[in-house]
């Protein structure tokens, strides 16, 4: 079969790239969620928050430090 000039050749049936893109998006989503629920993330957020609170909203420092102290016992029962 000859293809008219200027027309791209279209493969027969479903385009091969579509399922791969969906899988890629799903894997990217899993990776993002895994990062978002990493055990160290709360400390990475609370530690600077404690210092910032001490500088800007002193009364909240106690609450944030409390959260840090509580979370630092992760794994202890």
């Amino acid at each position: 079969m000859t293809i008219p000039a200027g027309q791209p050749a279209e493969p027969a049936g479903e385009p091969a790239g579509e399922p791969a893109r969906a899988v890629g998006r799903r894997l990217a989503g899993v990776a993002v969620w895994r990062w978002a629920t990493d055990p160290i993330l709360p400390v990475l957020l609370l530690a600077p928050a404690a210092v910032l609170a001490a500088a800007r909203v002193p009364v909240l420092t106690w609450a944030v430090l409390g959260g840090l102290a509580g979370y630092s016992l992760s794994g202890s029962v």
Binding site: I40, V51, A54, Y71
Partner: protein, 176 residues
């Protein structure tokens, strides 16, 4: 969405933390006559020692109650979750594997502020609740547990460092 037992467990943690905070505030009232500068230096010294311990540079045994909460507490899922959370939230019925809670407790004891005690206690309970909540959110508890084991030392170290710096900033600005 947290399950009902997890939600009740969280409430128990908050109540336990609040109770410990209030007890420390009452006890701290007896230390109020101590000079403010001395109290602040004591907290900073404890925070520094705690950080050095977390970094493995010094060895200090942490006093703790080795009696764990009995399993019979969990016979009733909801009431057991509340009681388990409450006891865990007080911080006195658990293994204390990091120094940040001790530094916080000393800070509350010497702060002479009921408001600080309430906030610290509630914060402590909320911090303890974060562990099972994030774990549940991960939807992969087994691998999350394994990852936590590798992160524990860094978590304790960062918490210790943050406590030292935050207290230093807090005390420095309070002198203005």
């Amino acid at each position: 969405m947290p399950s009902a037992p997890l939600a009740v467990f969280t409430v128990g943690l908050l109540l336990g933390g609040l109770l410990s905070g209030l007890v420390l505030a009452v006890a701290g009232g007896l230390l109020a006559p101590l000079p403010l500068a001395g109290r602040q230096v004591a907290v900073l010294a404890a925070a520094l020692l705690g950080l050095l311990r977390e970094a493995g540079l010094i060895a200090i045994p942490l006093p703790q109650n080795s009696r764990q909460i009995g399993q019979e507490v969990l016979r009733n899922p909801i009431r057991g979750a509340l009681q388990f959370g409450f006891e865990l939230g007080t911080g006195v019925r658990t293994y204390v594997s990091a120094t940040a809670p001790y530094v916080l407790a000393l800070g509350v004891l010497l702060a002479g502020s009921p408001r600080a005690a309430v906030l610290a206690g509630l914060g402590f309970g909320a911090g303890r609740a974060l562990t099972p909540l994030v774990r549940q959110a991960s939807a992969a508890p087994a691998s999350w547990d394994a990852l936590l084991t590798t992160r524990l030392r860094a978590i304790a170290l960062l918490a210790g460092a943050a406590a030292l710096i935050a207290f230093a900033v807090l005390f420095a600005l309070s002198r203005r």
